[in-house]
Subunit: 266 residues, 2 copies
Amino acid sequence: MNLTAQQIAEFDVQGYLFLPGCFSEEEVGVLRAEAEKIYQTERQEVWREKTGAPRTAFAAHTYNEAFRLLAHHPRLVEPLRQFFGEGVYVHQFKINAKAAFEGDVWQWHQDYGTWARDDGMPEPRAMNISVFLDEVMPINGPLMFIPKSHKHGTLAAGHDKQTTSYPLWTLDKETVTRLAAEGGIVAPTGRPGSVLMFHGNLVHASPPNITPYPRKIVYLTLCAVSNHITKFTRPEWIAHRDFTPIDPVADDALLRYARSYRVAAE
Amino acid sequence: MNLTAQQIAEFDVQGYLFLPGCFSEEEVGVLRAEAEKIYQTERQEVWREKTGAPRTAFAAHTYNEAFRLLAHHPRLVEPLRQFFGEGVYVHQFKINAKAAFEGDVWQWHQDYGTWARDDGMPEPRAMNISVFLDEVMPINGPLMFIPKSHKHGTLAAGHDKQTTSYPLWTLDKETVTRLAAEGGIVAPTGRPGSVLMFHGNLVHASPPNITPYPRKIVYLTLCAVSNHITKFTRPEWIAHRDFTPIDPVADDALLRYARSYRVAAE
């Protein structure tokens, strides 16, 4: 899958691209089922909210076949190779739960702020791709973006280790207010299988989820190979150190896996 | 202002009525400005979030002229006299701040659960009327309702004194999940001056506000005079003990006050 010139121009202006229906329900169904199983395990890669509910599961592409296929999927990998003009590798892979009733806030931040400060990533030539596993609604803790905020470079941030169970480099209220006055705030919503690609410097957040509707999203971070990280302060399963360019699987690989999985389950 | 037969039928089925544009921007502007002034005072009636941001201000109708006019406004009082077939009095009056960045959650609850347990109100013949002072958006902590949940009577609840700075009788996750599977969840949004009337047993909540946009809403609780409370466990400025039926002001009283206020300010 390649992006059109219009999509690339829109990305450049707004800082994100929303691609509804990128994966079919058949493809997403197997990911959703596997994610729930992973959250029930006691692996070190599964982080929990202060309440004990799952918050995020790291590196599932290294130990789960369905997520391995997703991390190598051409619908995600090809557009990023197109953006960066070179091969890309997996810098981070996480499945954020935003569990029903218990999913906590992710405060306002830029992803590249963390990749630069914690991992020594040279440039913002890496990007998060989010794949909706559940329906994302206005009420169940959607991702919020400040359009155009990626044009401001890497902003000053403080390292918040208190608010949630996950340490994060967060922006202050004055900065967020100023950027939102310029770009507004959007919260793209849609069916499972929808995809959001957003610039490493795009300011975003997500509120707690107080509804009975879970809101699982995969975040696949792909980095240009020549821009690989240089500081290894976080565990390898949080900030990967294998900089081999991804060799994508076939476009129907996840679908075929989903069909065999369903047969096996029956 | 009287409700139509269709509006009354809709209220009976859904448990709430949404009346966009009930007050003009001229009328709402003075209320918004006065609310901000009240939040800056150190009165006992102003409760704060754990962070210190304002959470709610009680009883402003007893010491502020603009809010006195709102509590006596025929657009709010007449429909309730119509519902209950008798005079109504002010049981509670609060201005909830849901401050930018700091406004915290109100968990899933029924208002009548508190009025019955804490105040000995005999029947759910009282109702909250919310008046939007700011624009209520999907992203700034809107009120969420479970339509039709008012048909289930007063549900079992636990007294949560921990989660926020305000103690509340809250429903458990299983109950909310079951009711939402039946009625869904709605979050009416709209311009300042919009009004929501909802049944005392309608299950509702509101999420934290992590945006730069404040979301102030007045909650005027009107109770049928013959249904007045019988237990005085909360301060008089939280659960009022003056059961005199409201004698409404003229329909243009708030507008005239807003105009004189503006002149005085210039």
